[in-house]
Amino acid sequence: MRLVYPMVKLLHTAASFAVMLVSLSLIGVIAMSVAPLAMGGMALEENTPFEIIMDEETASIVIDGSYDIVSTLPYDISDINASVSIDDGKEINFEVFSEGPLVVAKNGRSTLEVHSEIFIPSTLMMILAANAGSEEDGLYLPLTIEVGGSYLERIISVRASVNVKAVISDISIPPITIGLEDGDGNPVTSLEEAAKITADVTDIPGGEYLDDLPDSAVITVPIDGYDVNVIMTKTGPDGDGNYTMTIEIETTDGTTLTDALDALKAVAEDMGEGETVPIEIDTGTGTETIQLDPESVILFADSIGTMLEALT
């Protein structure tokens, strides 16, 4: 019995000491590993400059770049990821590029390859969808850039999400006139019943982007025995230097547009690896056939759907 009390005292001292030791160790490990991070233990080196180019052969906007992440930190950086989405925080949310997860070993380096191809008509639809009804000045593409990573065996993870507006033009889209028709050519009010939509934008001041666009472009997308045509027509400039743009989207057999887009997505989802959908583009100088992979087809169908919803 005499020994019990000293044992209890020893137990309390040991327990207090253990709790203090673990607390101090945790603080020490965090301080020693985070301090180099705060003092610039990580750097981004550009291998190939970031560029955005138009690829006429594939009718795509190609984004390219290569970066080295260099670390002089005492622990590995894991789960590094980066993504860019066209995202307006509401209806539009399309991932354009995603890379990761990457690991940068302690005192090592790792390469982050940025590569993305976006079908130009999809981008145009999204620009229109993002700006339709907007009360802000100018034309823009809403982007969300996300980067993140984990450190110290995932004890600390950081993710930064930045909402950016890529300014396309200082000129806003004038009010858009919408016309909806069913398969028999009768006017309808609901998008669900429409087999054709006509959007007229008048009095668009001329500028760098508009002047470069062809006078007309017809995009034909085949879906199970019928086609969806997207016809873009530019007329002008008028006496004041303004243009009129007309965008018509229609199905060739009277199927409603929403059904056609759902069918197109279903076709893309059923496609195997390496399979493509041939899409014809006629810009007045001849017809070109573009092969779109399933991902791009789904993005194209979604962008049309989002634009239709935004316009109506």
Binding site: Y5, I155, V164, A166
Partner: protein, 197 residues
């Protein structure tokens, strides 16, 4: 028989010490650090830090101030608990609930203050980046969930030290109690088991 919660067995100096340490750690130190950072940023003038404009720095400071205010608000009950925790001697039944509550409430503060380990800092400040891009807003999420779990474990283990402290100081407390009960001006003597803040 007098209850161990009686102030006859209390140590006012221990209560003061416990209160002061808690006040300094959870209120005065964070306030001083914030004032220091605020002063340093104010001295930067219009230059900013690391390319960050002063307006953006001010937004981060505002977020930090919210955290400091939150900490102070959460710490007030802890200040109150700290008084009886220091007031009663180690080894008395009276100290156990306050010491246990103090540790558990500290863990709750850490969880509440860090939103369970997911700290979000939102910077809502439109900023031009050349003529082609404009930043609308930025959200930085710091995930320290694992760190919070470890802290929770340490805090909970610390709470159970209330019981080992009781067992360890019980004999000394009982001797002191007997001394106080017997003596005409009991309680003025040197405490056998020192209270811990």
């Amino acid at each position: 028989m007098t209850s161990e919660f009686s102030l006859r067995y209390a140590v006012p100096g221990g209560a003061f010490l416990s209160f002061s340490v808690t006040l300094f750690t959870l209120i005065l130190l964070p306030l001083s650090l914030f004032a220091l950072i605020n002063g340093l940023v104010a001295n930067m003038g219009t230059e900013g830090i690391g390319g960050m404009p002063p307006e953006q720095m001010q937004q981060i400071l505002d977020e930090l101030w919210l955290y400091v205010r939150k900490l102070i608000r959460y710490a007030i009950p802890l200040l109150i608990i700290a008084i009886p925790m220091g007031l009663y001697r180690a080894g008395s039944y009276a100290k156990i609930p306050f010491r246990f509550l103090f540790a558990i409430y500290s863990v709750i503060i850490v969880i509440a203050l860090t939103d369970g380990g997911m700290i979000q800092v939102a910077i809502d400040l439109p900023m031009e980046m050349g003529s082609e891009f404009s930043v609308e807003d930025m959200v930085i999420t710091l995930d320290i969930t694992v760190f919070i779990y470890i802290t929770m474990l340490i805090g909970t283990a610390g709470a159970f030290l209330a019981f080992t402290e009781f067992a360890s100081g019980r004999k000394d407390f009982m001797e002191k109690k007997a001394e106080i009960d017997e003596g005409p001006q009991g309680g003025d003597g040197e405490p056998v088991a020192e209270p811990q803040a």
